[in-house]
Each structure stands twice: as structure tokens, then as C-alpha cells.
């Protein structure tokens, strides 16, 4: 088997759009080599037409995620050595349209982020005083637990509900909504609550924790969504949903 040869990795890479196919490449094995290094080697040395995406290479920007041997991963922080000696199979992220080769179209992912009102909305009139945010308050701790999201869409690609239900907002957008619902400075609570109470919102989540399992930042979107479910249920009982 070529992948077992010392010194080389056999790599199957998705080429084309939805109707593409796999191309095979042989890439020299290096110390501390990441999957992104492998892809970059192919693009620089073997086939300059290969399309893929990355920016920071240090796990901050969230742009390099792909499907690696069937699992969504951030490729700049995934070491080839940790994946075993076998061949590598690389595809674009699942649950998103394919643009070309390893680049998935993230528009639906970020459209849903916007639909969940996943952005900070300041109050209409700026307050003279600074908002007081006690770091150890329950709300701030809940927000902090989900705040380190890099928007990589790994969780979205790992989520079966996102695969089955095209309306589902997905773990990242809902996790972001949760952090904002716990931000005392934010002024869009009621509108956001209505957005996430919709059919594709938090109640569509099956709590099977695939998002948590795959999130490279070790976040727990399932817990954030459970928090939103409680919030929505309480608001429904209180008649507070717009």
C-alpha cells in the first residue's frame, strides 16, 4: 500500500464540485506536519489548480476546516502523525454546498448566523455609564463558556440535524446567540429570542452532542442550546415571545 511506504503519505483529495471525484497524490512525510501542510504541498508542488482555504495557520481564523478521513477538523492544527499511518482522504466540509475542490460555500452557515441575530446589538441610546459586567455573574460565565468560537463550521458539518433539516440554524449560530442572550449590554434579546424559537431554532436540536465532540475549541454548543431551550420555554410560559 502506497500510504504505508516510509516517507510518503498517500492522499485522496476531492476535486471539482458536487459531481467531482477523488484525485490521488503522494506527499513526503515530514515531522510535525499538519493536514494543511499536506494540502499546501500539493497545491505548491503537485497541482497549482487545487482550491482550498486558510489564513492564520495557527487555529484562530477558522477558515481551514475540511473533512479529514470522514471527520470535520481544523486542518492547520491537525497533525498527520496523529491520524495513523493509513492514507488521508480530504473533502470539503459536509452539510454545505461545494464550490471547488476543498472549498465549501460557507454562505448558508453565516446566513443562519445572521438569522439567529448572532451579532451584538448596542442599545439605541448610548449610556453615559459603562455597563457593569461582574466577571463571576452567572450570565457572564455562561457567555464566557461559549465565547471562544472561531466560526470554523466544524460543528455544523458534524451535526446530523443540520444535514436533515435545511432550516436548522445549527450549533455555532445558536451558541453565538446564547452568548449574546447572556450579555447584559446587548439590546436585541426579544428579537433574538423570537428568531431562535422558530421551527429551525433551538428546539430542533436533538442534543446528541456531535458538535461538542468535534469542536476544535472544545466548546459545548449542546449546553448553550439547552440553555436557549430553557430560556424559550420560560419566555413562552410568561407570554414573552414576540
Amino acid at each position: 500500500m502506497r500510504g504505508m511506504e516510509p516517507g510518503t503519505i498517500s492522499v485522496r483529495v476531492w476535486r471539482g464540485r458536487e459531481d467531482g471525484g477523488f484525485a490521488e497524490y503522494s506527499v513526503p512525510r515530514r515531522a510535525s506536519q499538519t493536514v494543511l501542510d499536506v494540502v499546501t504541498f500539493i497545491q505548491r508542488k503537485l497541482d497549482p489548480t487545487l482550491a482550498y482555504r486558510y489564513a492564520c495557520r495557527v487555529g484562530m481564523c477558522g477558515s481551514c476546516a475540511m473533512t479529514v478521513n470522514g471527520r470535520p477538523r481544523w486542518t492547520c492544527r491537525t497533525h498527520v502523525a496523529k491520524l495513523g499511518a493509513g492514507p488521508l482522504t480530504l473533502e470539503p466540509l459536509a452539510n454545505l454546498p461545494r464550490i471547488k475542490d476543498l472549498a465549501a460555500d460557507l454562505a448558508p452557515f453565516f446566513d443562519k448566523w445572521a438569522q439567529a441575530l448572532g451579532r451584538f446589538v448596542p442599545p439605541a441610546e448610548s449610556k453615559a455609564e459603562f455597563a457593569e459586567v461582574p466577571p463571576d455573574s452567572k450570565a457572564r460565565q455562561a457567555a464566557d463558556a461559549g465565547i471562544e468560537c472561531i466560526g470554523c463550521a466544524v460543528c455544523y458539518a458534524a451535526c446530523d440535524t443540520a444535514a436533515w433539516n435545511p432550516d436548522y440554524l445549527g450549533p455555532a449560530a445558536l451558541n453565538r446567540a446564547w452568548t449574546l442572550m447572556n450579555d447584559v449590554r446587548d439590546a436585541a434579546g426579544p428579537a433574538r429570542l423570537a428568531a431562535i424559537a422558530e421551527a429551525g431554532g433551538c428546539s430542533a436540536c436533538h442534543s446528541h452532542q456531535s458538535c461538542r465532540e468535534h469542536c476544535p475549541k472544545n466548546l459545548n454548543p449542546t449546553a448553550s442550546i439547552a440553555g436557549l431551550k430553557r430560556m424559550v420555554a420560560k419566555a413562552a410560559l410568561a407570554g414573552d415571545i414576540e
Binding site: T161, W164, N165, D167, L193, A194, A195, A197, E198, A199, G201, S203, A204, K229, V232, A233, A235, A236, L237, I241, E242
Partner: protein, 113 residues
């Protein structure tokens, strides 16, 4: 009522009916296990159930919980796996809920009356 509010209420109804079902199923099973010690005939069952208000109330609530829980769950399954959406699905699901209440209460009537 806004769509968001309807969905939120369906979610609450689904959870509340699940909690009720948990209790109902446990009581139902415990009663069966207790009642059939040493065998049980149809005549003996009817002798205990006919005219029993406690039975009618308990199973009346049980049927209602089923009629709330099952259709909402089915609606989610249809949406996810068959791509059904919209008013036709909701109408079909509502009919299913009414059917469950009717069949359940009819069976209960047979035991009680």
C-alpha cells in the same frame, strides 16, 4: 400568534407531555404487574375498571399526553426526514392528534362503561 410563539408552545407541550408520560407509563406498568399476580381474566379486569373514576381520570390524562406528544414528535420526523413542511403537514398532524384522542377515549369508554 407568531410562528415563533407557536413553535415555542409546541416545544413546551412536547416536554410537559413527555414528563406526564413518564409518570403515566410507570404507574401503568406497576399496576399491571401488581394486578396480574396469579393470573387475570377479562372479566376480572372489567370488574375492576367499570365505574372506576380513578381509572377514567388516569387513562384520560394518559391518552391526552399521548395525543399531544406523539403528533409533535411525528411532525419533527416528517419535517426532518421527508421534507414535509407547511400548513398541509400541520393539518395532517392535527387530525392525527384528534384521532388519537378519539381512539384512546373510545377504548377507555369500553373499560369504564
Amino acid at each position: 400568534m407568531s410562528r415563533a410563539r407557536v413553535e415555542a408552545w409546541l416545544f413546551v407541550a412536547q416536554r410537559a407531555s413527555a414528563a406526564a408520560l413518564g409518570v403515566c407509563v410507570a404507574v401503568h406498568l406497576a399496576t399491571i404487574v401488581y394486578a396480574v399476580r396469579g393470573g387475570l381474566t377479562a372479566a376480572e379486569i372489567l370488574a375492576r375498571t367499570q365505574g372506576s373514576v380513578a381509572l377514567a381520570l388516569f387513562y384520560g390524562v394518559f391518552v391526552l399526553a399521548v395525543a399531544i406528544h406523539a403528533p409533535i414528535g411525528l411532525r419533527a420526523i416528517f419535517r426532518e426526514h421527508l421534507g414535509w413542511r407547511g400548513a398541509a403537514l400541520d393539518a395532517g398532524i392535527a387530525i392525527f392528534a384528534v384521532l388519537l384522542v378519539w381512539l384512546g377515549w373510545r377504548a377507555l369508554g369500553g373499560l369504564f362503561g
